[in-house]
C-alpha cells in the first residue's frame, strides 16, 4: 500500500472535508483491510486524535466509538454482561489478539464484509450506526443501502437489553473466514436470529423469527421453521463451502441455537 499524504484529523469536520477533497482519500481504521486491498492512497486520514476509541454508556445504550478496537469491545465487561457474552464469543474467532488490538469497529462495519463475524451479533442486538453527516440509522438499514457512504462512521449504539445468546462460527481452520456464522439473541420480548457468510452479508432470518416468536410450542414447528429459513435467506457456493453444506449447517445450528437460548432462559 502506497500513501502519498498523511493527515491527522483535528475534528470530524476536518476529516470529512479531506475525505471529500479527493476520490482516492481514505479514512484509516486499523488499516488491516486497507493494506490488503488498497494499492495507492492519495491522502490517508487518521482519526486517532478525535476520541473515538471510547466505550460509553447511557441509561439505555452502550455507545462504541468507531475507533475502538475489536479487543477493546471484546473485553468490555459491562457490554458483555448485558448481551450474555455474545460480542466476546463472536470476536474471539477473528484471528489473534494482536490482530484484534488493531482492527477497529468502524472499519469492520463500514466495509459490510460478507464474511464478518461481527455484523450478525450486532444485528441481533438491534444495533444502530451513527454517521457524521447521515446521522443515525439501524445497522440493518445500513446493510441494505445500495451505495457505499462517503461519510465517517462515528459510533455504534447497542441498546441495553438483557437476554440469552448463541453464536457459532463454522470455519475450515481456526483462522479462516467463516463458511457460515449464526448469531442469536433472546430478549424478554423476542428471539432474533442472523446468518452471515452465506456467503452473502449477514441478514436477519425474519420469517423464522416470526414463527418462533408467535408459536409457544415451537418444537412442533421445526419443519416449518427450517423451510421458512431456507426460503427466505439465500445460501450459496464459494471456495469455502457449497450451498448444500451451508443449508445443512444452517438448519442444524438454527435448532441448536434456539434450544440453547431457550434452555439458558429457564
Amino acid at each position: 500500500m502506497k500513501i502519498q499524504q498523511y493527515h491527522r484529523a483535528t475534528s470530524l469536520e476536518d476529516a470529512y472535508n479531506v475525505l471529500h477533497a479527493g476520490s482516492n482519500n481514505h479514512i484509516l481504521g486499523g488499516a488491516l483491510w486497507l493494506k490488503q486491498i488498497a494499492k495507492e492512497i492519495d491522502t490517508a486520514i487518521d482519526l486517532q486524535d478525535l476520541n473515538l476509541h471510547e466505550i460509553e454508556q447511557t441509561e439505555t445504550h452502550f455507545i462504541i466509538g468507531s475507533m475502538a478496537t475489536l479487543y477493546r469491545l471484546e473485553t468490555a465487561q459491562a457490554v458483555n454482561e448485558w448481551c450474555d457474552q455474545l460480542i466476546k464469543n463472536s470476536m474471539q474467532h477473528i484471528m489473534g489478539v494482536a490482530f484484534r488490538n488493531t482492527a477497529t469497529i468502524g472499519g469492520s462495519i463500514i466495509g459490510r464484509y460478507a464474511f464478518s463475524d461481527l455484523l450478525g451479533p450486532l444485528l441481533v442486538l438491534n444495533a444502530e450506526v451513527e454517521f457524521y453527516r447521515a446521522g443515525k440509522m439501524t445497522l440493518e438499514a445500513f446493510l441494505n443501502e445500495r451505495r457505499m457512504p462517503q461519510d465517517i462512521l462515528v459510533a455504534v449504539h447497542i441498546p441495553k437489553e438483557r437476554g440469552q445468546s448463541f453464536f457459532k462460527k463454522v470455519s475450515n481452520t481456526r483462522l479462516d473466514f467463516a463458511v457460515l456464522n449464526i448469531a442469536m439473541f433472546k430478549s424478554k420480548k423476542e428471539i432474533r436470529i442472523a446468518f452471515g457468510s452465506r456467503p452473502g452479508v449477514a441478514a436477519l432470518a425474519k420469517e423464522a423469527m416470526k414463527i418462533i416468536n408467535q408459536t409457544p410450542s415451537w418444537q412442533e414447528q421445526r419443519e416449518t421453521l427450517i423451510n421458512a429459513l431456507l426460503e427466505e435467506l439465500k445460501f450459496g457456493n464459494n471456495q469455502r463451502g457449497s450451498e448444500a453444506y451451508r443449508k445443512q449447517l444452517a438448519q442444524t445450528y438454527l435448532i441448536r441455537g434456539i434450544e440453547e437460548v431457550m434452555h439458558n432462559d429457564r
Binding site: 498523511y6 488491516l32 490488503q36 490517508a44 484471528m95 488490538n101 483462522l175
Partner: protein, 150 residues
Amino acid sequence: MIVEMTLNHQVKRFDVDHDETLLQTLRKHGVMSVKNGCNASSCGTCTVLVDGKPMLSCSLLTIRLQNKKVVTVEGLQEEVEKIGHYFGLEGADQCGYCNPGVALAIYAMKQSLANPSSEEIKTFLVGNLCRCSGHQAQFKAVKRYLGDPL
C-alpha cells in the same frame, strides 16, 4: 516525517515514509528479532508490544505511532530468557523464527489474564503460528512459565 517514540525504553526519532510499517522501521534500524513472516496480518511473527499491547508490526504504520512505547524482545530480556528456558525444557524450539513474536504475546497474556484456563491460553495465542515444533510443546512451556511469579 519525523516520528518520536520510546523503543525498548529509549527515546528514538525516526524519519519515516508515510506508508512505512513499524516492521520496516524496526528492521531498518537493526531490530532484527522482529520477523517478516506473512506480511498480511496473519502469522504473528512480527508481534511487538505497543503501549503494552501485542500488535502486528507488519500492519502498523509507523507514522501513527508518535509518542508510543514500543517493546521488542530486545527490551524484555529477563522475561524472554525465562520463556526461552521453558521452551528449551519442553523441546518447543526448532528453527526459532516465531519465538520473538510468541514470547511477546505470552508475556502480554501473563500481564493481562490472571490464571488463564487452557482454552483462554489457546485463544490468546492462536494468532502466533509455529510451523515446525507444533503447538503442544509450546503450550506446555507456557503453562510452566505462567507458574512463575511475574
